[in-house]
């Protein structure tokens, strides 16, 4: 197993992902998740906490982001780094990205919920509705009349 000699005395929490992997995470990192916090308050602290909705690979990503996020407080460099990594993941593997968002949401990690949503919003903001439909495989379910009406109503935003 990985050496623990250099780690501080902080408590280690054991978590199990949906695909059966067991993770050992420092308490300070684990408590970023309100879900885990609640479970621990319900006295699961000495047992392995199951996470039935999160797979191991995604959980790795979540933990990485949590650690980075903890480091990035008042550190602009780290903030940039985390952001560019988030954007990179979004562009290279949007499927994983949406899984990450869902996992973060399920684990109820407020800071990451905002960040992941923000990154996606930043990706979308300059794009036309047509392009977004193409990119995200969204069906245009407006009738031509409805679409004309909604475009007319929001025409100012296209200036």
């Amino acid at each position: 197993m990985a050496s623990t000699s250099n780690s501080t005395s902080s408590k280690i929490i054991t978590l199990r992902s949906s695909d059966g992997e067991v993770f050992e995470v420092e308490e300070s990192v684990a408590l970023e998740s309100n879900l885990i916090r609640r479970m621990m308050e319900d006295d699961c602290a000495n047992n392995i906490i199951p996470l039935p909705n999160v797979t191991a690979p995604i959980f790795y990503l979540v933990i990485e982001h949590c650690k980075k996020h903890a480091e990035m407080k008042d550190n602009k460099e780290k903030k940039k780094e985390l952001r560019s990594q988030g954007e990179e993941l979004l562009k290279s593997d949007p499927h994983t990205y949406s899984n990450l968002m869902e996992a973060v949401n399920y684990l109820d990690i407020k800071s990451l919920m905002d960040l992941t949503a923000q990154w996606l919003a930043d990706f979308l903001k300059g794009k036309s509705p047509r392009l977004i439909r193409e990119l995200l495989k969204i069906k245009n379910d407006f009738t031509p009349e409805e679409e004309a009406e909604i475009l007319e109503r929001n025409r100012w935003a296209f200036d």
């Binding site: 197993m1 919003a121 979308l124 995200l136």
Partner: protein, 504 residues
Amino acid sequence: MGAAAEHSSRGSLLEPLCQREQKELLRKLPSSLFPSSPYKKRPPIHLFPSSLKVYHLLFSLSSNSWSTPTTKLLYQNPDYPAKYEKCLKVPCLCFFHSMEQYPNRKRKTPAKEEDIFNGISLDGLNQDLLERVLSWLPTSSFFRLRSVCKRWSSVASSATFRIACSGVPSRDPWFYMVDPNLDDQSIVFDTTEGNWKNLNYPSILLQDHNLKSIPVASSGGLVSFRTASGNFVICNPVTGACRELPMVNSVCESQTIHAIAMNSSLQHSSYKLVLVLGEFPNLMVKIFDSAKGHWEDDFILSRKTNTILGSDQAGDETVYFLSKAGDVVATNMQRSPSKQYSSVITVENGEEVIYFLSHSGTIVACNLSRRCFTEFPRLLPVFFEYSIDVVECRGEMFVVVLWEFLESASLRVWRFSEATRSWTQVAAMPPAMSHEFYGKKADINCVGCGDRMMICVNSGEFRSYILCNLVLNEWIELPKCVVDGKAKEFMSAFSFEPRVEAPV
């Protein structure tokens, strides 16, 4: 270990291994070497994508464990071996899985963004997540993207979406522009996109008796108007929602209004409209609190007497070199109709303070909590001709002054220090820029928001709109706003945050 280290020599590391080679390599290695691969069940293809269609996983031989898949490795580009070597300082094995193994993934060069998103559907996101993502969009983008599909369009009317929006701590300001003739009042400057937008005119203001409504104050996501009959209408310019406030009682109607200021709370989604009225120096305050839904009882402001002397003295002291200026033009303060009630509100140590320009051009500070007011020392001598305005930036009051001196014009921003009871300069427009205003007898109207302020410079022949960032000391002249081929002229502006969730 020895055998493994051999395989991890640099040459082979940088070459992707084919599947057969990988299997062979795995067979050669003692199984004890792999304590617990996190990827026993599946190759890590879904975890380690890089834009170059290869996926990698590291097993470190030195620590005898699978490396935590750091994002650093995740995004390394194997096309650039030099970069890649950096993260392979410890001997380790590196497996590359090529894309071809997994036919469900399209083998495309994801050079264009259009291709990248193949395979994701945001429809898969639950409503909660979708709303959160959309809440982070800049307001103009949000309105554009309402035409993506019905689901996105309907988000605007969702209560949970509004809650998500109110969780966004701040939005880039928009400036609501005031037309000198008070017609066609629907143009805003969007600082996110850096352009002019022509919003729909708020419907209630279109009613006949409201037609000549003047915008008088703004705060948070709202702008307040005063109708020709003296009533107040609160409006969210983004949604067009309007609310006419109950009548101010008749005692107040006969009084001169000195200041109209608005203060809003994002958390409680409520606002206050504050009026300072009376014959100076007998001032009283009238407050409308949206949480209570009615005008509160008015109260009198007492003058803090110890400061009268101080202000006069300090006023004499702050004449600076300017008192030597030869040509003295005695005029009253210039004032445009829209800035009749020019005032700002700040909260200092939990106490609300309204600042406004008195008729003689001094700044009056009214402390609403202590129910008293003081006059600040003059910034420039009374005989000096200048244009002055108060703004609020980052919760602080600043004064902007434009004056002509020694054959040039100067525009400066000042802050008042309570401790020394004196003014200090915080910013100045670059002289080359302000020189343009020389000899134009221009009037300025300013409004602040966050770190920024907009300065509208007007004279009979000349108009200019400048956006200033106080922190970066950036001064940018805005492009002309052309409507139907004609450049629009504006008298002043009010700043607000474009927030669809701000209730009127």
